[in-house]
């Protein structure tokens, strides 16, 4: 499979084709083109199927996080008074961070059983195995894009003026995708061997939700310190890559005066910690997935 052209125009038949070894299926083998067209096709199919037969179709993806947002907004501004007066643009921040976390949640939870759920494909066709978890990430990305339209409408309606710093959202989302895809690869390959990954991940995702500054901001815990270490809770929140991403997104989108991720950590060099975690998780996921890829079709 190595470098042999799988696709494209048929080779001239007169020349004898070069013989090549057949190896076990791999994470990416078979050419990037095939990988991409499979990933896209799987994501697109999933997208079509998800809302098939429902009257409002796509609108439901918007309704879910929006409804959740509404409930949280009510609870935290009217009942607990977390946001409202103290945090400027609290509703906009809440919505943005919910939408970003939803992407992470959807991608990772969707990846867990993705390989097992596609057993009939894995056992019947040779294709780059990575296309399956990646299609989940792509599918969630479609949703993210649609959700972001609503987010921007909401932000503009609340009186925030568009700024050049909004473009910062692009690298931030790229980081989020890298992180989610890394976790997705790891979880999907692990789930083939260990079926209790699913409940474990549900708990971890729940913890990450509360452990990330989504319903609150880093400022609200700035002065609380962890015992023994010199770290504040705010430090911890931004070491968490999701926390760093939403904190930075808040500054870029809503409020230039809000602390950046670097400022919360204390220095720009320390940003390497969350960035390193993203890179590390992605590398770990890719390495493990690649290691398991040849055996996935047998171990299902």
């Amino acid at each position: 499979m190595s470098a042999a052209p799988e696709l494209g125009l048929p080779a001239p038949r007169r020349s004898t084709p070069v013989s090549h070894r057949v190896y076990a299926p791999s994470a990416l083998g078979g050419g990037l083109h095939r990988f991409w067209s499979l990933t896209f096709m799987l994501a697109r199919t999933e997208f079509k199927l998800r809302f098939f037969g429902s009257v409002f179709g796509y609108l439901w993806t918007l309704v879910r996080p929006l409804l959740f947002f509404g409930v949280l907004l009510l609870v935290f501004t009217q009942v607990f008074h977390v946001g409202s007066n103290k945090v400027p643009h609290y509703p906009e921040y809440l919505l943005t961070s919910i939408i970003l976390f939803t992407y992470f949640q959807e991608t990772t939870s969707g990846s867990v059983a993705s390989l097992v759920g596609r057993e009939n494909l894995l056992r019947r066709v040779r294709f780059p195995r990575l296309a399956i978890p990646m299609s989940v990430a792509l599918f969630s990305f479609f949703n993210l894009c649609m959700n972001l339209i609503v987010v921007f409408i909401f932000i503009l309606a609340s009186g925030v003026k568009p700024r050049l710093s909004w473009l910062e959202l692009i690298p931030l989302i790229a980081l989020l995708i890298t992180l989610s895809a890394g976790v997705g690869m790891l979880l999907s390959a692990l789930y083939v061997r260990f079926r209790d990954i699913q409940p474990i991940w549900e708990v971890i995702a729940q913890l990450l939700w509360y452990g990330s500054p989504i319903i609150y901001t880093v400022q609200s815990v700035q002065d609380k310190h962890l015992p023994l270490t010199g770290l504040s809770f705010a430090h911890m929140l931004v070491i968490n890559p999701i926390g760093a991403i939403v904190t930075q997104a808040r500054k870029a989108l809503l409020q230039p005066s809000a602390p950046s991720a670097a400022a919360t950590l204390g220095s720009e060099v320390r940003l390497l910690i969350p960035l390193g975690i993203v890179a590390g998780v992605f590398a770990l996921g890719l390495w493990y997935f690649n290691r398991e890829a040849p055996l996935i079709s047998e171990k299902l």
Partner: protein, 424 residues
């Protein structure tokens, strides 16, 4: 390349000259080379699928059943060859095919393929019943290795071939199973590859569509593609394959011409049935049928035979009482239970003589073999003179024979036909 020769149902009969000659003039290089391939599946006795179990029993060694699915198979398949792999369920043939396709990792040995390899063909991989036919064709074609663009370009051909123009926007849920396989087959033959691996997909649908499928296979063959296919169907094996291989329990039993391999396969499958204990026997007064068998014209016992080779239906009866002019008879049925013929020893007023208790007799009924390839069962019986229907000994389906051969017109018999056309 496909587009040019594939413009509808009829174009398949037009040979593609350049391909045919190109394939013929080339020296037969090896398209697939398999060297000493072994594949073992480890089936754990105690499957640890949860972390908890693993954590609770860290020291307990998991014991495995080793299923040696493919044992040291070496094989060369030439370019442009149509190669069949047959074997009973669990013989390792599909595993081998999946090893060639690169779906399973081989334990030892090496497989090399020259040219582009189809990513394994099974009908309707990736079909989703909730989507319409249009979407499913594209999905399936991409799974089979086409790009989205190629898939869209060929969409019209697929639809035309499947003859499902009016049902393209129908969800697959509402398709009949016949329509489904037609759509799947039409998509599958669009695959872009020099080496095709096919699992059990030859000839699907109704008789007319089957004929189209066969024509497609002949077209692929003419184009000089290398095709490896796994089948249980000896008829398509003998019809298409240049060479075939029989596998059993992971071993290669035989590699040779399809005819010989088909015979060996039938031998393997039905060989032991021929001399099984009598199933449903009723005999009165101690007269019994001791044995029944088929034999060829040389008098050798057989369990399978080629079409058009004459055969004899035989049985041995042992008398428990004195009988005057008993009637010996055989009934030949298909394995569906349809009676092909009943032959009796008193057919032409012939006398069978008188028999005393303890005497044995062997009855032989020779017939020309115009049977269509299938399995046939022999029911021998002995009856008193005149009565005919009240048998003193009868054993249902005591022996069986497999008839194989290249011609199957769809009827029960393949009678020699003399065709004349008279222009008026």
């Amino acid at each position: 390349m496909l587009d040019a020769s594939f413009q509808g149902p009829l174009s398949t009969t037009v040979p593609r000259q350049e391909h045919a000659t190109a394939a013929a003039s080339r020296p037969a290089a090896s398209a697939i080379s398999i060297q000493g391939v072994n594949k073992t599946f480890r089936l754990p006795h105690q499957q640890y699928t949860t972390l908890k179990e693993r954590a609770l029993h860290p020291l307990r060694r998991t014991t495995y059943d080793e299923l040696h699915a493919v044992k040291n198979v070496s094989l060369e398949i030439a370019e442009g060859e149509f190669f069949g792999i047959v074997g009973r369920n669990g013989s390792g043939k599909s595993t081998l095919l999946k090893c060639i396709a690169g779906i399973y990792r081989v334990d030892t040995g090496a497989i090399s393929v020259a040219g582009r390899l189809s990513p394994f063909i099974e009908l309707g991989v990736g079909f989703n019943v909730d989507l319409n036919a249009r979407d499913n064709v594209i999905i399936n074609a991409i799974m089979l290795g086409l790009t989205r663009k190629q898939a869209q370009e060929r969409f019209e051909h697929v639809v035309a071939f499947a003859e499902l123009q009016d049902f393209m926007d129908l969800r697959l849920k509402n398709y009949s199973s016949g329509m489904l396989v037609r759509l799947a087959f039409a998509t599958a033959i669009q695959v872009e590859a020099e080496v095709l691996l096919i699992d059990e997909v030859l000839a699907v649908g109704d008789a007319a569509f089957q004929q189209k499928c066969f024509e497609e296979f002949f077209r692929l063959k003419r184009e000089g593609r290398t095709i490896v296919f796994v089948s249980h169907d000896m008829y398509s094996l003998e019809r298409f394959c240049d060479r075939a291989m029989l596998m059993d329990h992971g071993d290669v039993i035989q590699i040779g011409d399809p005819h010989t391999v088909a015979r060996a396969y039938n031998e393997l499958n039905f060989g032991q049935l021929a001399h099984d204990a009598p199933q449903e026997s009723h005999s009165h007064s101690g007269t019994a049928i001791a044995d029944a068998w088929f034999e060829n014209e040389r008098g050798e016992r057989i369990t399978n035979i080629s079409q058009e080779q004459g055969m004899r239906m035989c049985f041995e009866a042992r008398f428990g009482e004195a009988l005057e002019e008993p009637v010996f008879a055989v009934t030949l049925r298909t394995d569906l239970g349809h009676t092909i013929l009943v032959a009796r020893s008193d057919q032409h007023g012939r006398s069978s003589g008188s028999f005393n208790p303890g005497e044995s007799v062997v009855a032989r009924f020779g017939v020309p073999n115009w049977l269509t390839p299938s399995r046939y069962l022999l029911t021998p019986s002995v009856a008193r003179a005149g009565t005919g229907d009240s048998a003193v000994a009868l054993v249902e389906d005591m022996a069986s024979v497999m008839v194989h051969g290249p011609t199957s017109s769809g009827g029960i018999l393949e009678l020699p036909v003399d065709v004349t056309l008279e222009r008026l």
